[in-house]
């Protein structure tokens, strides 16, 4: 009986979706030649697909509800498998060594094309870790993060064009400029809460992109800046391939440094202040944490990494224009953080590798990339808000005089 009901339910859902997608999926009009193409097979596809997906959806929702209830009853959070493995030296030391060997050997074993893809992924690791400070640790949703990335990229490109500044000089300058921009943009938004903050940062991101697009005298407008030199190694002339390998190791170094700094930050006084701010702003202020300074430092430090990522991006592609810095770029970086796990370093790395490498290897589906990103964002939020590898919440337990509590209960 219940199976019959389930099938009926799915059938209804599938009919509903066939109705819903009918005009947009089936009818394709050509307004110039006044013809209409009918794609009936798509309707059948939607019907069958939704029929099965609705079973899956209901099953997943039911499981989620059951999980929630169970957690409420037992009152303790399970530590997920991966953090548990990471905490065990027997697993993580061999894992670390294997990863190290793979990382060092990669550019020599695989082709230059593969290396270049991995460089892109590494840039996203660094930038994602930066955004992780703002979104994951401090809980401030920043939708204009790409603006700082653009600041870094343009500061290298323009300084090089006008003054011949080298990559190595530009890296700290780009980081510093992004830091300053982080503070400048951070100031006005300090008073804003959650979603207002998201919209204002989105506005900032768009303002910077539109200015870059329209202010031709300054940024060369939509045509962008070409012939940005690749980084040099003590003045050696590098071939194209050598220079890719060099950028690769540079990015590995930068990523390691970022991981190190973010880890140290997480455990520092300011890092704990960020987490407290994320959890409860009012309680945090009551504990005497300076809200202004904490928020500003999150913004500025997050921006710094975007700035560095931007400088490397400009050096790697040797050409930049404003179309690389649209709002969707911000959203991809946000996807990296959300998919991987907000507040978790390993999560961000895994997220960046998945989101950047998968579309590269699934070229055939590249047009579906953004569609899939949208679905991922929704599904992750509904079913696994913590991400693939969620950050481990520090739990303090009261140990020692348990007997008193037990006596009170009895």
């Amino acid at each position: 009986m219940t199976i019959y009901q389930e099938i009926k339910k799915s059938l209804l859902v599938s009919l509903w979706f066939m109705f819903l997608t009918f005009p947009i999926m089936v009818i394709k009009v050509n307004t110039i030649e006044q013809t209409i193409d009918w794609h009936w097979w798509r309707l059948a596809g939607v019907g069958v697909g939704v029929f099965f997906l609705s079973f899956l959806w209901r099953y997943a929702i039911a499981r989620k509800e059951a999980g929630k209830k169970k957690a409420e009853i037992s009152g303790e959070e399970k530590v997920a498998l991966i953090p548990r493995l990471m905490g065990n030296p027997r697993f993580y030391i061999p894992g670390l060594i294997a990863a190290l060997i793979l990382v060092v050997a990669f550019p020599f074993v695989f082709s230059m094309y593969q290396t270049n893809i991995l460089i892109t992924a590494l840039i996203y690791v660094v930038v994602g870790l930066g955004l992780n400070i703002v979104v994951g640790l401090a809980g401030l949703l920043d939708l204009g993060y790409v603006a700082f990335y653009a600041v870094g990229a343009y500061s290298y490109a323009l300084l090089n064009y006008h003054f011949g500044v080298t990559f190595w000089m530009a890296l700290p300058i780009g980081a510093l400029l992004a830091f300053i921009f982080g503070i400048i943009l951070g100031f006005p938004v300090l008073r804003l809460r959650g979603d207002y903050l998201a919209i204002v940062t989105l506005g900032f991101g768009e303002i910077i992109r539109l200015v870059l697009e329209n202010w031709n005298e300054f940024s060369f407008g939509p045509s962008g800046i070409a012939n940005i030199p690749k980084p040099s190694l003590f003045g050696l002339q590098l071939s194209l391939q050598q220079s890719s390998i060099f950028i690769y190791f540079l990015m590995i170094g930068l990523a390691l440094m970022t991981i190190f700094v973010v880890r140290r930050l997480q455990d520092s006084r300011i890092g704990r202040a960020w987490i407290a701010l994320r959890e409860d702003e009012v309680a945090c202020q009551a504990m005497g944490i300076d809200k202004t300074r904490t928020k500003l430092s999150a913004f500025a430090l997050g921006a710094t990494w975007a700035g560095m990522g931007g400088v490397v991006f400009a050096a790697k592609t040797t050409f930049i224009n404003p179309t690389s810095f649209t709002i969707w770029e911000s959203i991809i970086i946000l996807c990296v953080v959300v998919l991987g796990g907000m507040g978790s370093i390993l999560g961000v790395i895994v997220g960046a590798l998945i989101l950047i490498l998968l579309p590269e290897y699934l070229r055939a589906f590249s047009e579906y990339r953004m569609l899939v990103f949208g679905v991922i964002l929704v599904l992750m939020m509904v079913f696994r808000p913590g991400g693939i590898i969620s950050g481990v919440r520090r739990i303090y337990k009261f140990e020692g005089q348990n007997t008193i509590a037990e006596n009170n209960n009895a």
Partner: protein, 300 residues
């Protein structure tokens, strides 16, 4: 003077358009405190559905007035269905969880819908036929105001009156106000909260679709991306007026429409979009609650 009048009426058109979208934003925000990022996409889907209906019926040789009315109605129906479904899939399972999660889910939905239309239809700009005839009595002032614009003013005004009636005098409106004030409490006194929320999405979405069909007829083209920028600007308008407040949304839309119109008319048109964002930032810094909004304090 003519130029001024032209800009003034142009601003009024913009403002009415923003108002049609901003009302949906502000209604949803008032009830579940969520920025429905996908609202702009609902508007875009309304415009597309309208275009499809118009094209099919034009080929069947219908009367143009009948076509535009039917197209608007079907677009409203479909957008309402989309709004309803989106709420069930992307927002309802997240009720009670962090606000950040719901917002990210909304962004994902917006991204999905844009690419859904892009893949199912096309990425090009499609020409949008304007079926509203040019009225004879408007001929002398034809360079200042077109009949489509008059229809937009009238539609916006009618929608506002109808909404005010709905909120103030009907049972559903009362329930909506109750849920906006305190969801748990209204549940206790027997309000079906899920139904109220679904209803809000349906109403907001169908208004947006009406806007979508009218605006696309006015501008004369549509593509999958029109919803995003319109949605953002309508959101600016809603925030400007004080989000959650319906008269505020209309007032904010008109203020934004006029300022944009005069700014681009007298100063520069390159930075039109920059201007809207700068405006938003300035409002939020100096008056975070908006023109008509109340500033409420955090409850601990």
């Amino acid at each position: 003077m003519d130029y001024f009048l032209e800009l003034f009426l142009g601003g009024l058109t913009r403002g009415s358009i923003y108002a049609l979208i901003a009302l949906g934003y502000t209604m949803v925000y008032g009830i579940i405190e969520l920025i429905n990022f996908a609202h702009g996409e609902i508007y875009m889907i309304g415009a597309f559905t309208g275009l499809i209906v118009i094209s099919v019926l034009t080929m069947l040789g219908w009367n143009s007035i009948a076509i535009i009315i039917l197209a608007a109605l079907i677009a409203m129906l479909y957008s309402a269905a989309y709004g309803f479904t989106i709420e069930k899939i992307a927002y309802k399972p997240l009720r009670g969880s962090q606000r950040l999660s719901a917002l990210i889910s909304a962004i994902g939905m917006s991204l999905f819908l844009q690419n859904y239309v892009l893949l199912a239809q096309t990425s090009n700009f499609l020409p949008y036929p304007n079926l509203i005839p040019t009225w004879d009595f408007l001929k002398p002032v034809g360079h200042i105001v077109r009949s489509t614009e008059i229809v937009i003013y009238i539609a916006a005004a009618l929608v506002m009156v109808a909404l005010t009636y709905l909120i103030k005098f009907t049972r559903m409106g009362k329930a909506m106000r109750a849920v906006a004030q305190d969801r748990d409490m209204s549940m206790l006194v027997g309000v079906d909260v899920n139904r109220v929320i679904s209803f809000t999405f349906i109403i907001g979405s169908s208004i947006a679709a009406l806007g979508g069909v009218l605006v696309a007829s006015h501008i004369g083209q549509v593509n999958f991306y029109v919803g995003f920028i319109a949605g953002i600007k309508a959101f600016v308008a809603a925030v400007l007026g004080g989000i959650g407040s319906m008269p505020g949304a209309v007032l904010g839309s008109l203020v934004l429409g006029w300022t944009e119109s005069f700014f681009t008319g007298y100063i520069s048109s390159d930075y039109e979009d920059v201007f809207a964002f700068v405006f938003l930032v300035l409002i939020l810094i100096f008056r975070p609650a908006g023109i008509l909004g109340r500033s409420d304090t955090d409850k601990v």
